[in-house]
């Protein structure tokens, strides 16, 4: 493919817009290039770039180059980081699974601590929890439930396959883990608030902290 020689003035407009740090109005380009009429050059450039990976576009009377919208996905590369759910998020997920549908206030009542909004967001981002409507009580709180992805991820046919309280007790999962933890949960004079989550995190064992770190790769 042989390109026709391009008019030097068109080339100058092209270079000016390429190097510009801001979109430019016709007047600005013209001022830059000795007051010449730049409209025909802009029209020609616009036509030329229409077929290319970069477009010359006018937005609000200002011209600039931008990458073609159909290629936008190429300019973003996704990288997946494996991240372990925090203890708080795991607890909230478990409560949703055992009690669904539940409102945030109910989750908080069961957990005994306030739940940061971010925790539910993480679970929804993970695709395990969804908004399942509103409860028809005063205030109409949003209620949450698990998703089919949740069942798939944990290898469950249905929520009924989650072990019941008796089974948990038999497995030793309802034994006090250690006194400190119980005391943390019952610490008197604790003021509930959004920063609760942080306070709790601090009291959590170090292992979890390690797990929090992103394992890249």
């Amino acid at each position: 493919m042989m390109t026709e020689p391009t008019d030097d003035f068109v080339r100058a407009v092209e270079a000016t817009l390429f190097a510009a740090e801001q979109p430019m109005t016709v007047e600005q380009i013209s001022n830059h290039l000795g007051q010449a009429d730049v409209r025909p050059a802009l029209a020609e450039l616009e036509r030329h770039y229409r077929a290319r990976g970069v477009l010359l576009v006018e937005r609000g009377k200002r011209w600039h180059f931008e990458t073609a919208p159909d290629l936008a996905h190429l300019l973003r590369r996704e990288k997946e980081d494996l991240r372990r759910l925090s203890r708080a998020a795991t607890e909230v997920l478990a409560i949703v699974a055992y009690h669904e549908p539940v409102s945030r206030a109910e989750i908080e009542a069961i957990r005994g601590v306030q739940t940061a909004k971010g925790t539910l967001d993480v679970l929804m981002e993970a695709g395990w929890v969804r908004v399942a409507g509103r409860r028809e009580v005063p205030g109409r709180p949003v209620i949450y439930a698990t998703t089919p992805d949740f069942l798939a991820h944990f290898g469950l046919g249905s929520l009924k396959e989650l072990p019941g309280l008796e089974e948990l007790r038999a497995a030793g999962l309802l034994d006090p883990v250690d006194d400190d933890m119980i005391q943390t949960g019952l610490r008197p004079g604790k003021v509930p608030g959004e920063d609760e989550e942080t306070a709790e995190d601090t009291a959590e064992d170090l292992d979890e902290r390690d797990l929090f770190e992103e394992d890249d790769g």
Binding site: A15, F18, A19, A20, E21, Q22, H64, F65, E66, T67, L75, R76, R77, E78, K79, E80, D81, L82, R83, R84, L85, R87, A89, T90, E91, L93, A94, I95, A97, Y98, I110, R111, G112, V122, E125, A126, W128, H153, F154, G155, L156, L162, P163, L165, L168, L173, L174, D175, P176, V177, M181, I182, G185, L186, E214
Partner: protein, 270 residues
């Protein structure tokens, strides 16, 4: 921008500026006034050599030496601490000059011709680099003559989290929540005590056996095994005292105490 690129290397007058600046004129004026403007003796020599208006390969070393020594002589205002290098060079050049003028057979090794050649080569090398620098600076430079895209969108690497959680983590977490939220019942720990009933039974049976006054403490069980526990003994003492009062009230025992905090004695009623 001047274009030194057309000038062949080593030609006189090719002393273009650096970074677009040509100071040759200023330096000619300064030549006989100061020495600060030179980048060392070799720089001065190069400039003097260029004044011969011939290719650096064809300069007359004798003429160059003369010009240099002349310059040093005239630069009366020399600041000695700055001029040491220049004076060392002057001494060396004076030596070179005299050696070049000596008859051949008296010449040392390396020969003065060899030394002169080396000097010439060094001047050529420095001259070449100076011109190369000027040509480099005169090129179309990024950010001055040519430009990158002013507002690149940037290439982004988006990080997406793939959350991990195992079945065990989930169930364990629920267990933890349940444990933590269990209602807490406060229970007073059971302590070993001698009950009042058993104290009354013990004291009254022992009173029936003895006819004399007995110290209250003698009614306690012997301090062995579990009764060795001091807390339990205090409990037994307290209970036995209450038992004694009860027996006295019901007329089955007499109590006597000779002084305050003295031993409490007990005897069965007749």
């Amino acid at each position: 921008m001047n274009a030194p690129a057309e000038l062949p290397f080593g030609l006189p007058g090719a002393d273009a500026g650096w970074d677009g600046e040509d100071r040759a004129e200023a330096r000619k004026e300064a030549l006989y006034l100061e020495i600060d403007g030179w980048e060392g003796p070799l720089d001065l020599l190069l400039d003097l050599a260029r004044r011969q208006k011939v290719d650096l390969r064809r300069i007359s070393i004798l003429e160059l030496v003369a010009a240099y020594l002349d310059y040093i002589e005239q630069a009366e205002a020399l600041r000695l601490e700055l001029a040491a290098d220049y004076l060392v060079m002057a001494a060396w050049l004076a030596y070179l000059k005299s050696a070049l003028l000596l008859p051949k057979d008296e010449q040392a090794d390396p020969s003065p011709e060899e030394l002169a050649l080396r000097l010439q080569l060094r001047l050529q090398r420095l001259g070449a680099m100076r011109e190369a620098a000027a040509r480099l600076m005169g090129r179309n430079r990024l950010g001055r003559d040519v430009f990158l895209r002013g507002a690149p969108e940037g290439l982004r690497v988006e990080r997406k989290s793939a959350w991990q959680c195992s079945w065990y983590d989930l169930v364990r977490a629920y267990g933890d929540v349940k444990v933590r939220s269990q209602p807490v019942v406060h229970m007073v720990r059971e302590r070993m005590v001698m009950t009042l009933d058993s104290a009354i039974a013990r004291v009254s049976s022992m009173l029936g056996v003895s006819l004399d006054w007995m110290d209250l403490r003698d009614f306690l069980p012997p301090a062995s095994d579990t009764w060795a526990n001091p807390q339990l003994r205090r409990s037994a003492l307290a209970s036995s005292f209450v038992a004694a009062l009860e027996l006295a009230r019901t007329g089955r025992a007499e109590i006597a105490q000779e002084q305050t905090f003295g031993p409490l004695r007990l005897k069965a009623c007749k």
